[in-house]
Amino acid sequence: MSFVFYVLAALTVAGGLAAMLLKNTVHCALALTVAFAGLALLFLELDAQFAGFAQILVYIGAVAILVVFAILLTRGSETPKDGVFSHTWLAGLAVAAAVFAVLGWAVLQAAPLLPGASPAPVVTVQQIGDALMGRYVLPLEIAGVLLTAAMIGAVIVALHEKEGPK
């Protein structure tokens, strides 16, 4: 646990908290982007270049843009008058705390079972590419077909229906 890790963890958590607590929806989306960037930097700190850059490319480059577009195209970024907090925030807090507790418990239980500090494997992007194109080519193709089908479906939903008799 180095100093850099703590800085990045603080950045990520702060981004996540701000995404929840800020009043303006667009501000929340931007804060979420900070959390994404923090996660990407954490991946990079672990020497996982591919995961880190893919995180930036996909989450900051595409998902964040999608989120802000969705906000702007639906109800605008005005803050509702009666605040942004749900009435059932107490229940939500309890559920979140329970999930966090289970996850934390699982991680803490698993820690002693792992073999002692083994050196992290050095995985180059080339190896990831080879694995994706060799051993894992079928899952990759299926994911590609699924995404293409989803995209075509979205286009069909968005298409204007032709007027007049068929």
């Binding site: 667009v26 931007l30 270049q49 850059f53 930036i56 490319l57 900051i60 480059g61 843009i65 080339q126």
Partner: protein, 391 residues
């Protein structure tokens, strides 16, 4: 002597760093390289603004700037002083924090891209295994800053400009990536230095640049189209179409913040031209075998400036597209052609050496482009240009 000249900046850096204690040397070396990039490219930006205004003036049959200094060459100095001393106006209803952050995020993200570009032999800041991926990741982060600028200004023109810019950048990022992927397929690496090395051979005194292969030529065309759109340059400059949107997403920016947007736009142009040079034009390698004695950095920057010249030329020549034309062009022409090019590149890779792959790959690409052109002509969609004048 030739070798010294080629490595002069590397040697200079080592000499300067040599004065420091050994433990500081790696950090100082990196800082020095960063300082060089941060100084050099804005200087190039200042030069380019004069060249652009002079060149556009030439194309449009007027003089261009000619008042400050000899032939107007000190114009950027005057512009810089002006933008530094101008009042910084933030609109009353603007979102001050986001409004301030947007230009900063843009310039930082654009500068990051230069880190992986090999600007000469041994002249790369970070020789990363996944350099190309890093570059595109940084390029993708600029979109958000454009949105931040447009949204935080609370101005309908700004917001419209930002929406247009983001939609355009996302649409053209797909062909940009797909045309670059062909190079990765052939070179077999994402590291930009390795890609340059893969193009460094010569046969009959001519270089093995990827642009001189059928798939490379088609890919370079698609890359050039996509980069023009990605940097919001004419003919794809709808996001800042003056006649419709005042100035697009930076309408509400003044003084130095506006200058930062201007700088970011040109820096993006430099870095994406540098990437194109690296991917298709052989990076820092010389165009002929007998010219290899010229320093490598000279070739890199010559090719970069040549690309910039073409950008300026296109801006002076082509009219702006309409929004629907822009999107149709991206999704119905550039994207299918990029996908076809991907197939051709794979074929090239697996046909092995010899003349056969040249014939087959050229035939496929020529058939596709010529067939498409003839088909459109026959359907009457493309005809001779017609002019209408006000009477």
């Amino acid at each position: 002597m030739i070798k010294t000249l080629d490595q002069i900046f590397v040697l200079l850096k080592e000499w300067l760093v040599g004065y420091l204690p050994a433990s500081w040397q790696p950090v100082a070396g990196v800082l020095l390289s960063v300082a060089a990039i941060v100084c050099l490219f804005p200087a190039l930006f200042a030069l380019t603004t004069v060249f652009e205004r002079k060149g556009l003036g030439r194309i449009q049959n007027r003089l261009g700037p000619n008042r400050v200094g000899p032939f107007g060459f000190f114009q950027p100095v005057a512009d810089g002083i002006k933008s530094l001393t101008k009042e910084d106006i933030v609109p009353f209803s603007a979102d001050a924090a986001v409004h301030f952050l947007a230009p900063v995020v843009l310039v930082v993200a654009v500068f990051m891209g230069f880190a992986v570009l090999p600007m000469g032999r041994n002249m790369v800041l970070v020789d990363m295994d996944a350099g190309l991926l890093f570059y595109f990741a940084m390029g993708a982060s600029t979109e958000l800053s454009v949105f931040m600028a447009g949204w935080s200004s609370r101005n309908k023109y700004s917001l419209l400009g930002a929406m247009r810019a983001v939609a355009q950048m996302i649409s053209y990022e797909v062909p940009l990536l797909l045309s670059s992927v062909t190079v990765v397929m052939i070179a077999g690496s994402l590291s930009l230095t390795k890609i340059v090395e893969a193009q460094s051979g010569y046969s009959w005194g001519l270089p093995h640049w990827y642009i001189f292969t059928p798939w490379g030529f088609a890919g370079f065309l698609m890359y050039a189209i996509a980069t023009t759109a990605e940097t919001n340059r004419s003919p794809f400059d709808l996001p800042e179409g003056e006649s419709e949107l005042v100035a697009g997403y930076h309408t509400e920016y003044s003084g130095f913040k506006f200058a930062l947007f201007f700088l970011g736009e040109y820096l993006a142009m430099f870095s994406i031209s540098g990437l194109g040079t690296t991917l298709f034009l052989g990076g820092w390698s010389a165009p002929f075998l007998f010219l290899t004695w010229v320093p490598s950095w000279f070739w890199f920057f010559s090719k970069l400036m040549l690309s910039i010249f073409v950008f300026i030329w296109m801006r002076g020549t082509l009219p702006r597209l309409r929004q629907d034309q822009l999107m149709n062009f991206a999704w119905k022409f550039v994207l299918p052609m990029c996908l076809l090019n991907l197939m051709v590149a794979a074929l090239w890779r697996f046909l092995g050496d010899g003349w056969l792959r040249w014939v087959i790959c050229s035939a496929i690409l020529l058939a596709a482009y010529v067939g498409l052109g003839l088909g459109e002509l026959r359907r009457g969609k493309i005809g001779p240009r017609s002019y209408r004048y006000a009477e």
